[in-house]
Symmetry: C2
Subunit: 188 residues, 2 copies
């Protein structure tokens, strides 16, 4: 497991073994069973979560009471409620495991301390955040412009493995389509 994380970290910035050890000493590891909540709506999100294995979704409840899924995250992805984490406000989203999921947890205060002692770590997080921004902008631009059918095709191309692991109505939610209409689309 440590090897996996180390490899991931070194993809963007090179850390020495002692730096990795220092970072690791601040991480907590936790296992979430299927349907368990990593974070509940309304709570302050004080952590960043790194997925070792498994699958989670983040979602919020819209004004009509429907769940809206904003993100799926798997192995080697970071999740958090960014707005809550940065502004220390109650989180609008919940994060929930869809399978048994292994997660590494880093606390905000610990992270800030690590940024000071290991500036390279701050660099890593700058880069990670930039990548998240690009991905989010991409979803924004592409999905607003595309018709439902094309969004579904795009999703299949980008995340083929998710089709197997995620129930269809959740994919519909992520794509902002009703389950009924997605079912219709799939016939063709």
């Amino acid at each position: 497991m440590k090897e996996q994380v180390k490899k991931y970290f070194n993809r963007y910035v090179e850390f020495s073994d002692s730096e990795i050890d220092e970072i690791f000493s601040k991480l907590r590891q936790k296992t979430f069973q299927k349907k368990a909540y990593v974070l509940r709506e309304g709570g302050i999100c004080t952590d960043r979560y790194f997925i070792i294995s498994g699958l989670v979704r983040s979602f919020y409840i819209d004004h009509k009471g429907n769940e809206k899924i904003t993100q799926f995250a798997i192995q080697n992805w970071w999740v958090t409620s960014m707005e809550s984490f940065i502004k220390k406000t109650p989180s609008a989203i919940s994060i929930q495991a869809l399978e048994k999921t292994e997660i590494l947890i880093i606390d905000k205060d610990e992270l800030e301390k690590l940024f000071l002692s290991i500036p390279k770590l701050e660099r890593l997080f700058r880069i990670i955040t930039e990548n998240m921004l690009i991905a989010t902008q991409r979803k924004n631009d592409i999905y607003l412009q595309m018709k439902s059918k094309n969004r579904y095709d795009d999703f299949i191309n980008h995340f083929p493995d998710f089709i197997q692991r995620v129930p269809q109505y959740m994919i519909a939610s992520y794509l902002e389509i009703t389950p009924e209409y997605l079912s219709e689309l799939r016939k063709s």
Copy 2:
């Protein structure tokens, strides 16, 4: 002008005067007339742009040949084509001044060097990127869920000054509505 930027920088991280001077020595200043292009689609975006005064839009051309506006930026905002900047790929978007606009330009290579000599600057950019991510996610979540009418109301509340400065059909484009339909909405 220098005071304005210094004040902005110090909102997130405190820099010494000598650090500010070092940063400033790497910045170029440029004035763009109305309708002038800061960046053209297809070019590699090697800079980040900081708006001193004025107003720009970023937009791309969709598959039907229509302009889609993804962002407006004013005083104290950063703009760039993030994907092009990070990956060094041709930019999908153009950036254009909608008014006479004063811009500070920082080159990517210079910025990377500054990150090494002034780690606090990297911190500033991490924070800026986080804020951009939050804003982008917000647009994502809210706009996908809202009907056109609500998006327009939301826009008016968040950016009341833009209404005066930006032609209506550009606001329509930003909100992913046709100008005709926005006109219809405004009647109520």
